[in-house]
């Protein structure tokens, strides 16, 4: 089964922990420790990224089976094992996590000056949790990683965050935990029901229809908070605004994907009837999220908050796509998740560039930046356009597919999804105009320096990926096509079986 002959996924998952242990053991004067910690963290995460490219290269796109499977006995008498593997749905998210981590570390190079060692350790631990979560094929292992994310993220927001960091860190932690423990009950129920927590086995297990609704809502409680869906999105703007730049990038880029990934991995295949039954509810919540948070974004004075609300809107598109249960919708949702991971991450980095120089996120504090920092203005414009859904850039492909998929289900839902593109253009262009164009009203801004070589190193890969995804999306769609097709087929088979049983 394992195509490379060594436990690649475990290596990807736990190598960052090794890096964290080495980082932790660095001793000496503060400046030396900080420098060494940065380099160790950067090399570790780059090494992990390069290893993950093997995953990408050796991944067999022709099959929907799980690949690179590893299985170690862990709690044999409970039917729980350490079971790792990826299919077309998860492999790209592993790559997204490993790619964003070095970028985050690079982006924090100068922005973080206090307790650098601990910061780098927290990021490496976070990487372990993220990769492990996307690669886990056992529900309990998944849960461990899913929850484990909270600890480093709580510390990152709380220690290195902005003025209201304590409030934001608590809110993030408790909100997410509350959702997750309800999911734990659902997992325990499935465990009792099927005698195992092995995900592929559960995919083949038919859960009694009477129980499905309860399980569905328990999962929904966790995933909806994580996505986040309206009305449980309120932790997100706070966490985003207060987190340090790199923390926001990981939050937007990877952590928000965990909820949507959960829907695809658990809700759809394990609870097909309940998913179909409650799809309209998800559509309503998503369309409300798109309309409401887009309008809220229009009124924001804080750049990070604006982008945070735009994330909620984009994730609304994703949840619509997931619950269309057709090839276009699901592929579009997955593609949007990836695109949003790259683009919104990059937008937070763009805000970070200004914040590092001026220490303000207020939109009104800026103006005419494009004239002062032309290269930065171009990069910011590029990602603004990508976020708006300009054809040829990443987001367009995903959102277009979701709208097509939604149209097949219900044109009104498609209209709701399309609303995101219209309103998105409004608030993003407004943001860009107020920050980058116009006259320079504050004289101190004239002294700002344009992008440094380090910042180029951060942005260039993101720009290239965004272009690649927009111009030749097939190379990504290829990866999940087979898995998505298999998922839909199983879903429809389960539904028709239920219908037959009902007759």
């Amino acid at each position: 089964m394992n195509a490379v002959g060594f436990p690649l996924l475990s290596l990807l998952t736990f190598l960052p922990l090794v890096g964290a242990a080495i980082t932790m053991s660095v001793r000496g004067e503060d400046a030396v420790v900080a420098r060494n910690a940065r380099w160790i963290a950067l090399w570790t995460s780059l090494g992990v990224f390069l290893l993950s490219l093997i995953l990408w290269a050796r991944f067999d796109r022709g099959t929907a089976e799980f690949q690179f499977v590893e299985r170690v006995s862990w709690l044999p008498e409970f039917g729980v094992g350490y079971h790792m593997g990826v299919d077309g749905i998860s492999v790209l998210f592993v790559l997204l996590s490993t790619a964003l981590t070095p970028i985050c570390i690079l982006a924090s190079w100068e922005a973080i000056t206090a307790r650098v060692r601990e910061y780098m350790v927290a990021f490496l631990v976070l990487e372990t949790m993220m990769v492990g979560m996307f690669a886990a094929l056992d529900m309990l292992v998944f849960y461990v990683f899913f929850e484990g994310v909270l600890i480093p993220m709580f510390l990152i927001i709380g220690v290195w965050g902005g003025a209201r960091r304590v409030y934001a860190a608590y809110k993030f932690f408790l909100y997410t935990l509350l959702g997750s423990v309800l999911m734990l009950l659902a997992i325990l129920y499935l465990w009792r029901e099927a005698g195992t927590t092995d995900i592929p086995t559960l995919h083949r297990h038919a859960v009694p229809i009477a129980a499905q609704a309860w399980i569905f809502f328990a999962f929904l409680a966790s995933f909806a908070v994580k996505v986040p869906m309206w009305p449980v999105h309120t932790w997100l703007p706070d966490a985003h605004v207060e987190a340090p730049t790199a923390g926001s990038v990981i939050l937007a880029g990877v952590l928000l994907k965990m909820g949507a990934y959960g829907f695809i991995r658990f809700s759809l295949p394990i609870l097909p009837e309940a998913s179909a039954q409650f799809a309209p509810l998800i559509f309503v919540l998503s369309v409300v999220a798109v309309a409401y948070t887009s309008l809220v974004a229009l009124a924001q004075e804080d750049m990070k908050k604006l982008i945070a609300y735009s994330s909620v809107a984009h994730m609304g598109i994703v949840t619509i796509g997931i619950f269309t249960f057709n090839q276009q919708g699901l592929s579009g949702a997955l593609f949007t998740m990836l695109a949003h991971g790259v683009v919104s991450g990059a937008l937070f980095l763009c805000v970070g560039v200004l914040y590092d120089r001026v220490h303000s996120r207020e939109i009104a504090r800026y103006g005419g930046i494009a004239g002062i920092m032309p290269s930065y203005g171009l990069v910011f414009l590029f990602f603004t356009m990508a976020s708006v859904g300009l054809p040829g850039l990443a987001n367009f492909v995903g959102e277009f597919l979701v709208i097509v998929g939604a149209w097949k289900v219900n044109p009104w839902v498609a209209a709701g999804a399309a609303l995101s593109m219209i309103l998105g253009a409004c608030y993003m262009l407004l943001l860009y105009r107020r920050v980058a164009f116009g006259r320079v009203t504050r004289e101190d801004l004239r002294a700002l320096l344009d992008l440094s070589p380090r910042e180029y190193a951060v942005f260039v890969p993101l720009v290239l990926v965004t272009l690649w995804m927009g111009v030749y999306p097939q190379s990504f769609l290829d990866v999940f096509e087979t898995s998505v097709a298999a998922l839909i087929q199983r879903h429809e088979a389960a539904l028709s079986a239920a219908r037959l049983a009902g007759l």
Binding site: W74, L75, P76, E77, F78, R115, E118, L140, Y143, V144, F145, E147, G148, L150, I151, F154, L155, G158, V159, R165, V166, A169, Y170, F173, L174, L177, L178, V181, L182, L184, L185, L188, Y189, W191, R192
Partner: protein, 473 residues
């Protein structure tokens, strides 16, 4: 036969007498050597427990099975580590008298007798042997009003609990005709269940033991005693007596009264849920870390008692795993609390930990590990403790219990997080004194256990499973 089966207890009792006899002669203080001797005796006893045969002795008063071995090892662990925490503290506070270590030894012995009790008389004997030394060491700092108050309060309420136990035992004897657990099990193995008088007796016994484990509604003494007693004594209170009393509760309810579970189950469900709720909500407002830990321990007892309340094999296994992990988390946390000194004076406010992440990164890291573990966040050990009791509740179909359990664990996460927040996010009032080596070792050892438990949980689960099976056959 009887004497050889009870060898661990006998060896420990004789060792205690010897240490007591030798200890009175030297003029200088002998706290340190006496403590080392007691820890050595406890370790020897642990080895003997490992090699103990199964069977009953003393006319059915005493029983040895893998359940008793498991719980005895935990009791001994609690005793030995509790004493280890006291080494440095007692010296600094001028409490370094050798009687302290001997009293800890006898309290641990009492706990072991309780765990092995197979008769209501032996139960009472063990409970008193456990309690009397506890009353003394709670008031060990006799010049401190708070400590004296703690000892007195514990004594008065503890005596009441002992009375309840005796009254319950006499009712059970009157209505069932025996005090022996095996005999009771036979008497109750009938279709009509327990008579109302017997149920009243059971409830009295439950009340007495709930007092000892500080479960709601018999928890009122806990915060005051925990706060007033010297800190290492508080740590000891939270471990050995709790393990022994919970073991006894499990043995009484699931052993002789296992057949009439339906008649006492509601009581245990209420006790469990009440403890979880109180532990979660009442701790939120606490500023004193010992008081906070008192409420936290009430909450933890609530989770552990879920395992008794569901009255099943899985529940008992969950309980055993929970107690084992709880002991380790608790020792670590108290090692940090015992180490909290500023300028040579012990401090015990949560805010005194402010800025610890900067001043003493190692201690702060371990404390954070213990707090996340207590909150039940994976991948730390505390999560697995909760996981198995929740699993047992779900398997038994106790949805309300399980839901209350998970929701209160979110509420309690709030105050555990507050300690992490104080250590890492707040500015410090000043550095704490360096922790003595003995405490640093305990912190690192228990911290590593919490971190690494996930790698190899199978042996403990297997041991707990075997112990649970031994009780329920």
């Amino acid at each position: 036969m009887s004497w050889t089966l009870a060898l661990p207890e006998l060896v420990l009792a004789v060792a205690g007498l010897l240490i007591l006899a030798v200890g009175v002669f030297p003029k200088r203080d002998t706290f340190f050597p006496a403590s080392m001797a007691v820890i050595g005796a406890l370790l020897l006893t642990a080895v003997l427990v490992l090699g103990q045969e199964e069977g009953t002795a003393f006319g059915g008063q005493y029983v040895s099975d893998s359940f008793s071995s498991f719980m005895k090892l935990l009791t001994i662990l609690g005793g030995a580590l509790g004493l280890l925490l006291a080494l440095d503290w007692n010296e600094k506070e001028g409490l370094d008298r050798f009687e302290f270590s001997v009293l800890v030894l006898y309290a641990t012995l009492g706990g072991m007798v309780m765990v092995s009790a197979n008769d209501l008389m032996a139960t009472y004997l063990g409970l008193e042997l456990l309690s009397l030394p506890l009353y003394v060491i709670a008031a060990f700092n006799r010049d401190d009003a708070r400590s004296s108050e703690a000892g007195l309060k514990y004594f008065v309420l503890g005596a009441l609990a002992s009375g309840l136990l005796l009254y319950g035992a006499s009712l059970i004897y009157g209505f069932a005709g025996s005090t022996n657990f095996d005999r009771l099990a036979e008497a109750l193995d009938t279709a009509q269940g327990a008579s109302p008088g017997l149920v009243v007796g059971i409830v009295f016994v439950i009340a007495a033991l709930a007092f000892k484990v500080s479960a709601v509604p018999f928890h009122m003494w806990t915060p005051d005693v925990y706060e007033g007693a010297p800190t290492p004594v508080t740590a000891f209170f939270a471990m050995a007596p709790k393990v022994a009393a919970i073991a006894l509760l499990a043995r009484v309810l699931l052993g002789p009264f296992g057949d009439v579970a339906a008649q006492w189950q509601q009581v245990m469900l209420l006790v469990s849920m009440g403890s979880m709720l109180l532990g979660a909500f009442a701790a939120i407002g606490q500023r004193n870390i010992k008081r906070l830990m008192a409420y936290s321990s009430i909450g933890h007892v609530g989770y552990a008692l879920m395992g008794v309340a569901v009255a099943s094999d899985e529940g008992l296994r969950g309980l055993l795993v929970y107690m084992a992990i709880y002991i380790v988390m608790n020792v670590g946390t108290f090692a940090v609390i015992v180490a909290m000194r500023r300028g040579g004076r012990a401090v015990e406010q949560v805010d005194d930990l402010a800025g610890l992440g900067r001043h003493d990164p190692a201690m702060a890291m371990w404390m954070a590990v213990f707090m996340f573990s207590m909150a039940g966040i994976p991948p730390l050990a505390g999560f697995f403790g909760k996981l198995y009791v929740f699993l047992a509740a779900v398997q038994g179909g106790f949805w309300v219990l399980a839901t209350v359990g998970v929701l209160t664990s979110v509420v309690s996460a709030y105050y555990y997080l507050r300690i992490v927040k104080v250590m890492y996010f707040d500015q410090g009032a000043g550095a704490l004194d360096r922790a003595p080596a003995s405490l640093s070792v305990v912190m690192a050892g228990t911290g590593l256990f919490n971190l690494l438990f996930i790698l190899w949980p199978a042996p403990m689960l297997a041991a707990a499973g075997a112990a649970a099976a031994a009780l329920l056959t």
